[in-house]
Symmetry: C2
Subunit: 420 residues, 2 copies
């Protein structure tokens, strides 16, 4: 019997999508001229070219039909590493860095993550939701339909729970899906500066069980770096998280190579993120343990550094490479995955199709959602973006602007171009 459809998008000048891959390896990328897709109840029911899709489905009476002539159709973008809940922006530090202070010096002088912590603790949940909502709109306006969202500016039980409750509230009230990650181990808070063990105990024995009990996070992440949490400390926290049933992530090898990636592989983490200082040994361990590499070139760019992760070598070694914005007020103030793709193409040598795959299907893998997100295939969630461009190459090529015309989330138009 013919499937019903409540959404039909017809005649995109190009339908561009990764193809799901049962193996742990880079996905193929498919382009179809005059591409069409149909969906029903928020799921894709048919994909093909020209009028074939219309003939394969039965349109319900009030179906939405979109003529996509001259536009490119891709899956909704998936941003698999963000810190979108914060109380104050840190544009003053941006200027301080330009004038010559390092990120580490600014942190030591009371800026950095701990400055965000001080402000977040003084901000109500309602105010945090209100200040984060425009960021959700900005994500959507740039084609992102799912984000991973981390806590980590609270660093007390109450404030970490508050942040995760903000993320849950954003997920309820905004079309974007937010996948929550607990990052209590983002930094050692001031009050535990002389008692690191005390803080790690607090994270493992109190915060993690409380977050689990409230079902506020899917993943647990740790900032494993020489000036933050050591490999041994990160391992202790992640082991406790694994015991409780969290999926594991880690910030690893961003500023130096201390072994966070190998540890992530050893523990079976779903992703290891940043990876600017990783080596072939790390990549091999990730491949064996099926850890998705998540690269964050916007942070390298924003910190004025020049050592980008060796993305091409990771792809050649067989890893399904993901990209994310790392949106945060200190080291990557952008919601734009298209901009991140441009950076990945120009600074890391990814082709446009590799960059788009990294920001859709591979990013979904980094969230454990490869089975239902990140590509335009029958059975997947109808999260779709129409871009005002003839083909997918424009998305990284035409940079610093938004080419997004229409955004579809779970089969519904949630953003349509009103100007341009």
């Amino acid at each position: 019997m013919m499937p019903q459809a409540d959404l039909l998008i017809e005649g995109a000048s190009e339908l561009a999508t990764p193809i799901s891959n049962p193996d742990f390896s880079p996905a193929e990328f498919s382009t179809t001229r005059n591409g069409s897709v149909a969906a029903h109840g928020g799921k894709i029911v048919a994909v093909g070219d020209g009028a074939t899709v219309r003939s394969q489905v039965q349109l319900v009476p009030d179906a939405t039909v979109i003529n996509a002539a001259g536009q490119t159709l891709t899956p909704g973008l998936v941003d698999c590493h963000t810190h979108p809940v914060f109380s104050r922006t840190r544009e003053d530090e941006f200027e301080m860095r330009i004038k010559g202070q390092s990120y580490e010096e600014i942190a030591k002088a009371g800026g950095g993550i701990l400055s965000s912590v001080r402000h977040l603790r003084q901000t109500t949940k309602a105010d945090l939701v209100e200040s984060a909502l425009p960021r959700m709109d900005t994500f959507l306006s740039l084609g992102t339909t799912t984000i991973e969202a981390k806590s980590g500016y609270g660093l007390t039980l109450a404030d970490e729970v508050k942040m995760l409750e903000v993320i849950a509230e954003l997920n309820r009230v905004h079309p974007i899906d937010l996948v929550p990650t607990f990052l209590g181990a983002h930094e050692i808070p001031d009050e535990f500066r002389s008692n690191r063990k005390g803080y790690i105990d607090l994270v493992t024995h109190e915060m993690l069980p409380a977050v689990k009990q409230r079902e506020l996070a899917v993943f647990c992440d740790v900032f494993c770096e020489s000036h933050v949490f050591s490999v041994a400390e990160a391992k202790q926290i992640l082991l406790a998280a694994r015991e409780l049933g969290f999926g594991l992530k880690t910030h690893a090898e961003q500023l130096s190579r201390i072994g966070g990636t190998m540890m992530a592989a050893e523990l079976g983490a779903i992703s290891a993120d940043h990876l600017d200082y990783t080596t072939p040994e790390d990549w091999n361990a990730m491949l064996q343990a099926k850890v998705v590499p998540v690269l964050l070139p916007a942070a390298v760019f924003f910190l004025g550094k020049s050592k980008y992760a060796d993305a091409k070598a990771m792809l050649r070694s067989g890893l399904p490479l993901a990209l994310a914005t790392d949106l945060n007020p200190g080291s990557a103030m952008t919601e734009s995955l298209p901009m991140v793709m441009t950076l990945a193409c120009l600074q890391m040598g990814l082709t446009p199709s590799e960059a788009i795959t990294a920001a859709t299907y591979h990013a979904a893998l980094a969230l454990g959602s490869g089975n239902f997100l990140g590509s335009i295939e029958v059975g997947k969630k109808a999260d779709l973006v129409l871009w005002g461009a003839e083909n997918h190459r424009h998305i990284p090529y035409h940079f610093g602007v938004s080419l997004v015309k229409t955004v579809i989330k779970s089969g519904k138009v949630v953003r349509a171009a009103t100007q341009d």
Copy 2:
């Protein structure tokens, strides 16, 4: 007597503007909390803080009054170097470069500027206008209210005139002001490959007088570079242009140092553009001859190069430094001056206020329009932008997105935020 006002913008969280400078040196930058401005007939009639401005003017009955609480008010951005009229984008070359071919190799293989020339010659004036209009909308959506626009993809008398007529038409039909520049010496066209002198004669003896006679361009520009026009050739063309009364510009020292900047200074050019390979000797010559340096970091970024012009040293040497996008389909596919400011801050070390000055008042100097454009001061054109941000630092800090809320051109609202 109190001046009348048909526009009042009140209570911006910050009014941020350069202050016009009669000397040829970097302008001061002023920030006012709770800033207000009034305009009449397209010109600014009062600037100040809080309610003082309202008390200084007499509002006409149908005046537009805007409450700018929580927003930053700056002058409209001035993009003083763009190539916005072209027939086809060149995203294929973007991918070829990523895969390892150089810009020069692509040009030799039939790509590059000459590929744009082939396509433009086959495109009608009406089609060129239609394809350029969305770019004008994009400029405006990112806060740009005036652009310089070059010919240079025609390279026959008829096709150069066609391009300049497209620019004139865009200027008529779109709120953005376009300042036209004749760039017949952008490249040697295929049919003159074995007769360089013949093409230079065509430019100097036929094109320049014809463009002048039709009043189609204010400036004459030459691409002075080792693989394009030599210093001697560029000088010959620019001398002929000066004789006819054109203002002079030159693409200089982009890929190597061959002396274009010194030549520009010798001839009294209004600007020399790119300048990645200039030295203190060049800067001193520009200072003596009052040549505005126009830096184009988006081209460095987009070509995957790392040698940016030494902007800080130029400022220290006393030059009023300008920034521009260089929008063109081959080496800088962006309409975003905010993105260019981010690049200038992160890659060249400009502070946010230096970057904004470079993209407003100093850019106006590069167009000979410093007396009436580029700052929020009484008597200047009421080209204004309201940004959804508490202070001017956000403009380069929050990158890859558009913070623009409202754009005012000649005292009229031409773009207002409809979403977000």
